[in-house]
């Protein structure tokens, strides 16, 4: 009996295979898509005036991002009200190798519905590839312009078309320290680079180690060092030269660039200044590096890092135990600009559920939910500052939204071969003791190649 069933089943499969081989693939017509867009837009315009209404009953969106652990937990909580209201679930896929996974799935014709990208450079690359769906067709652009500064809208666009909405922002130009440790040592918060170096010398003289610096991060090792160099670049050469550097209008071997690296080297290549020496800098995971601040006696006193680092502080550390001062000015002419970054939500599959999700993330509630949990800043102007858990976060949010000079993290804007490649490995080599000119020439050689696209 089972043999007969098998036979029947097998014959069916053969028949199906033959039919599938002979069938013509149906080409998708772009015209059709546009028409659907128009129809849906009418429905959505009604929606925007009310609270988000149910337009589909159930369904799900597939989102690909780099967040795991606490970050993922906070994001899930932020999105839950959306699921409760609309019945649309979120299937979140975490991958630190996001670029690899994303490219593979796009090439395979199986992209996730949405992706959360930590780099505008990646957004541009994907938009050039044609992998992203323009969102200005269904997002209320007038409301968006009120909620976000033009700089953030530009960062989410390519070729004058909007592709992404910025969700999580971070301020990078911060130096974290323990006020209690500073008081115990009689140290004062520095306001200029020279004061900061003098403070470092003072700590060394007292027998301590001034700086916590760890740049190990697996395949991304070196990225914290690139943040240092970008912050310094803004302060020694100004934002115009910074822009030229990011766009490769000046070479990596330019004196302005070399000076920024040398400032960084003053701290990073100085064995006495950094916890664990230069070997420690290259061997310590970035998330573990601020931990010695909270030891007794402190293993190190200062840690320059973006605002997200608070979620990496040890258990039991509360907002009273730490504070941050702005990365000090170097050249008074350039003052204290803000270096920041963020995560942008982009759409790869145009589905009604994905649209609803995107629209939800453009409203304040998901921003406020994560902001209240801590370790999150929002570039959204509609988010009230009271929602942040402590004064430091509030100050950072204000700075992010209102800095006179704001620049996005440089390595995230450069092509991947540099910004996620030779720039990172260059800093690792420089810290390990390689000659700076050689390091810069190596990066320059790969830049000539990468920017010639």
């Amino acid at each position: 009996m089972s043999k007969h069933l098998c036979k029947l089943f097998g014959l069916t499969i053969i028949a199906a295979l033959v039919l599938a081989a002979c069938a013509q693939p149906t080409p998708e017509t772009i015209v059709e898509q546009v028409e659907v867009t128009r129809v849906v837009k009418e429905v959505e315009e009604v929606e925007v005036t009310k609270e988000i209404e149910v337009i589909t009953s159930g369904g799900a969106v597939k989102v690909l991002g780099v967040w795991g652990g606490t970050e993922f937990g906070a994001f899930s909580s932020a999105v839950e009200p959306f699921t409760v209201e609309t019945g649309i679930g979120m299937a979140f896929e975490t991958s630190r190798e996001q670029v690899t996974v994303l490219i593979t799935r796009i090439e395979a014709g199986n992209p996730p519905d949405l992706a959360i990208l930590p780099q505008p450079g990646l957004l541009v690359d994907l938009a050039k590839m044609g992998a992203l769906v323009p969102i200005d067709t269904f997002i209320d652009m007038d409301q968006l312009k009120k909620d976000y500064a033009q700089a953030w809208i530009d960062l989410g666009s390519y070729d004058d078309t909007l592709y992404g909405i910025w969700y999580k922002g971070s301020l990078k130009s911060l130096v974290w320290y323990s006020p209690a440790a500073f008081e115990a040592g009689g140290y004062e918060v520095p306001t200029t680079w020279d004061e900061m170096i003098a403070l470092s010398d003072q700590i060394v003289a007292d027998g301590g180690t001034p700086w916590c610096l760890g740049i190990e991060s697996g395949a991304a090792s070196g990225w914290p060092a690139t943040d240092w160099i970008e912050d310094i670049m803004l302060r020694t050469a100004g934002s115009d030269v910074y822009d030229q550097w990011v766009n490769h209008e000046i070479p990596w071997t330019d004196p302005a660039v070399k000076t920024a690296w040398e400032y960084f080297g003053q701290i990073a290549t100085n064995e006495d200044y950094v916890w664990g020496g230069t070997v420690g800098v290259n061997s310590t995971y970035f998330g573990d590096s601020p931990v010695p601040i909270f030891e007794d006696p402190p293993g190190c006193y200062m840690h320059r890092q973006a605002s997200f680092i608070t979620s990496f502080f040890p258990e039991g550390v509360t907002a009273e135990d730490y504070s941050a001062f702005p990365f000090p000015e170097i050249d008074p002419a350039y003052g204290i600009p803000a270096l920041g970054a963020g995560d942008v939500l982009v759409m790869l599959n145009d589905t009604p559920e994905a649209r609803a999700f995107m629209q939800y993330l453009a409203t304040p509630p998901p921003h406020e939910s994560w902001a209240a949990a801590g370790g999150f800043l929002s570039p959204h102007r509609g988010v009230s500052l009271d929602i942040y858990p402590d004064d430091i976060a509030r100050l950072q949010a204000e700075t992010l939204a209102g800095a006179e000079v704001f620049r996005f993290d440089g390595s995230d804007l450069m092509p991947a071969a540099i910004g996620a490649g030779t720039f990172w490995t260059g800093t690792v080599d420089y810290v390990a003791g390689d000659d700076l000119d050689m390091v810069l020439e190596t990066i320059e050689a790969s830049a000539v190649d990468a920017y010639s696209e």
């Binding site: 097998g10 053969i14 799900a60 649309i88 697996g218 070997v279 991947a416 696209e453």
Partner: protein, 330 residues
Amino acid sequence: MEALPASISQILNTLLAVLVGVGGVISLYVALDFLIRFLPKNVQQRIRPWIFVGPLLLILAFYLVYPTLNTIFLSFLDKRSESFVGLKNYFFAVTNPAMLTAFRNNLLWLVLLTTFSVGLGLVIAVLANRVRYETVVKSLIFLPLAISFVGASVIWRFVYAYKPADVSQIGLLNSILVNFLGLEPIGWFVEKALNNFALIAVGVWLQTGFCMVVLSAAIKSISGEVIEAARVDGANEWQLFWRIIVPMISSTIAVVATTVVINSLKAFDIVFVLTNGNRGTEVLANRMYKEMFQFRDFGRASAVAVILLVAIIPVMAVNIRRFQEQEAVR
């Protein structure tokens, strides 16, 4: 309004796929056999093997042959596979400093991994042959083979972990250095003189078990009379090893060695997880991965892949030929 949670529908999909897949393949063969019955008897005999092997050949052609040909084709195109650039990608592959470092490292892996895996495997096989607790020893040495490359790399990441001198060490090696030998801890992945060898050691740990098991079987197949006769003639253990055992199992050693050579050219996971090719540890497979997925230069990635393929083909040919010789002898 209650949508099935995504995870449950995924599980159901997977179960369905397994059922349909496994059941389907079995049914397919039963059905094919049934269809063949309609043909005349002599045709049946000739066609049957081809029909049974057919699906497999098709799959191999689709998943192995086509991608290989496609990769070779792409290696002559540019970054986005849009225009023909001739040998430019190959030129880059043999002149770029990072690529040259990768070539050097692959050579190091090839020579050192093979020498130490086969050598250690041979020594352990010979020695284990003489002790009562042979099975225990062999099981322990063989165990790492069951661990994935990535799993092994995570284990060894902790063995090589570095903490500054005045903090308690969490890495096994640095702990021995600091606590027992009173030396400074070493950044195993950072020191250019040591990091390649540290990575190759992980590979040796993984491969020795395989070498040992195969060589042990070969040693046991040497007839006891030969060994007896040699001992009677006055050979000491050293001479026994070099003049009797090794020559008699030389073809097995060749097969094992070529297999390890092929594995050494595959080295990727260990380098990727532990150092990502930083500080001069990059190998060709990592280079290919970076070019493909990080820098998104499809032409160069294909060129590196083709170079790896060309490097492996002679080794594979030797391996297969020796293996067939071996089988004929048995």
